[in-house]
Amino acid sequence: MSEWAHPAWPYLAAALLALALPERARPALLAAPALAVVLAWSMPDGGTLTARVMGVELVLARVDALSRMFAIVFALIGGLAGLYAGGGASRRLHVAGFAATAAGLVIVLAGDWITLYLGWETLAIASFAIVTDGGTPRAWQAAYRYLLVHFAGDALLLAGIAWHLAAGGSGLVGALPADGARVLFLVAFAINAAIPPVHAWLTDAYPESSPAGTVFLSAFATKAAVYALARAFPGWEPLVWAGVGMTLYGVVFAVLENDIRRLLGYHIVSQVGYMVAGVGLGTSLALNGTAAHAFAHILYKGLLLMGAGAVVHATGRRKLSELGGLARAMPAVLALYLVGALSISGAPLLNGFVSKSLIVAAAEAEHRPVVFALLMLASVGTFLSVGLKLPWLAFGGALAHAPVRPVPRAMLAAMTLTGALCALTGVVPSLLYALLPFPLAYEPYTAAHVFESLQLLTGTALAFVLLRRQLGGKPAVTRDTDRIWRAGGAWVTGRLAPPVARAAVALEAAADAAVSRPIGPMPRATGRPVGYAVLLAVAAIGIALLALR
C-alpha cells in the first residue's frame, strides 16, 4: 500500500457522491477539493503509483515538480469552480465538473501514455457534459461538435500511442522519437491546446455552457495539452511560431468579438500561445515560464470567466452590444473582474506579470527579438480587449438592461478567493516560483521592468481612448475555422446521413429477422442521459485507481 494517495481520488469520490446527494447537501462536497489540494501538495518527489490492469502495468502517477505544479492548480481551480457553482448548480455540472477535474489530475500525473490517454478520453466526455449544462439547443449542438472534434483527437492520440509502442518506444510519458507516431501525438495535442486552425471548438463550445460550467471548462483541456507538449516536445522550434501565432490570432479575433465569453475564449487561445511558445523555446527559463503561466492563467482566466458569468447571470445577456452601465449595479463584480483583467494584461503586483515575464524574458535571453516583440504586441492586444474594451462596453455608460438580478454570495466568494490568489502570487512571486520545475534566478520586480509594463499599458490606454469608437460592440458574428466542420456537418447530416440511416435500418431489420427466428426478438438500444456516460467514464477511472498498490 502506498504512503500517499492520488489527488484525483477526492474529486472522483465527490463526482460519485454528487450523483446521490440532494441539492442542499452538495456544498459539503467542497471538502473534496480541499483534500485534493493537500494531497497534491504533499506528493513526494519521485513518488510513483502503479497498478496492473488486464496484464498491463500502468504508472498511474509519477511525481516531479512539473506534474506537481499542474496538479496543485488543477485541484485548486476545481474547488473554486465548485464554490462558484454553489449549491444551486445542476447535478450534471457537479458530477461532470468534478469528473473533469479528476481526469485533468490523472493526465498531469500519468506516468505512462495509456494512463494519460484514459484521462484524456474521460476529460473529453466530462467536458461534453459540462457544455450541455448550458441547457439550450445551441449548447447541445456545440457540445456534440466539441465531442466530435475531441474524439477525433483522442483517436489520433490512441493511434499514436499504439504506433509508438508497436515500434518499440517507451510506454512512459516523455520526449518522443522523430517518427510517424510523433505526428499523431502532435496533432492530438494541438487540438486540445487549441492551436489554430484546430482551435475553434473552444470558442464554439465554452460560451454555450452555464457560467460555472465555463469556469470548469477553461481550466483543463488546453492546459493538459500544454503539459503534454512540455513533456513530449520541449525545444521543438515550430512550436515557438505556433505559439506566437496563437497569441496574435487570439487578440485579433478578441478585438472583433461581441460575445463576452467568446471574447475571453479567444484570450484562452492567445494566452495558451505564450505557453506553447515557451515549450518551443525549450530553455529552463522558458519551460519555467510555461509552467508558471499555466498556473497563473488558470487562476486569472477562471476569475475573468467568473466575472463574465456573473454578468450573464445578472442580466441574462452575453453580448457587448446589449450590455452597458453595470458598474453601479455590480461594483464588486467589476472590481474583481478588473483584478483578472489587469493580471492577464501583465500589470505589476498580479500573477500574470510574474509569469508572462518569464516567457518574454526567455525569448529575449535567446536573442529572439521578433518573437519578443510579437509577444509584447499580443500583450497590448490583451489589455485592449480584456482590460479596456470589455469593461468599457459592459460596465461603462448608461445602464442598458434592467432589472439586474443580484449575484449569489457563492459566486462573489469564489471570485474574491480567486482574485486574492492572483494578487498573492503576484505580490509574492516566490510562492509561485518555488513550485517551478527548474531552478530560477529571475527577479520580475526591477524598476525597468515595472516601468516598461506600466508604459506599455498606459500607451495602450491612451490609444484606446482615441480609438474606442471603432471598438463599439456591434451585433456581428465572427467567422472562424469552425465554419469548415459546421459546413461538413451540415452536408453529413443533410445529404449523407439519410441514405446511410435508411441502409442501417434495413440492415438492422434484416439482422433482427434472421436472429429472432431462433432466439426471439432482440432488445432495442435505448438512449441514455449524458450523466450515464460520465458515470461510466468516472467508474472506469475509479476501477483503475482502486487497483492501486
Partner: protein
C-alpha cells in the same frame, strides 16, 4: 469632459514614465508607451480590415 480629463491623465502618466525610464535606464523616450499606443492602433486597424474583408457577418435575429 471625462474623456478630456482621462486623456490628460494618461498623457501625464506616459510622459512621466518615459522620463523616469530614460533617466534611470537609458531607454529611448517613447519606446514602451509608443509601442503600446502604436501596437493598439495597429491591432484595431488590422481587425477592422479583416472584418470588412468578410471575417464578420451581421447577426441573424435568432442568434
Amino acid at each position: 469632459m471625462t474623456t478630456a480629463l482621462g486623456l490628460a491623465g494618461l498623457l501625464v502618466l506616459l510622459v512621466v514614465g518615459e522620463i523616469v525610464l530614460h533617466a534611470a535606464h537609458g531607454v529611448p523616450p517613447g519606446t514602451w508607451g509608443g509601442f503600446g499606443a502604436l501596437g493598439c492602433a495597429a491591432l484595431v486597424v488590422v481587425s477592422k480590415a479583416l472584418s470588412r474583408a468578410g471575417l464578420q457577418r451581421p447577426e441573424r435575429p435568432d442568434e
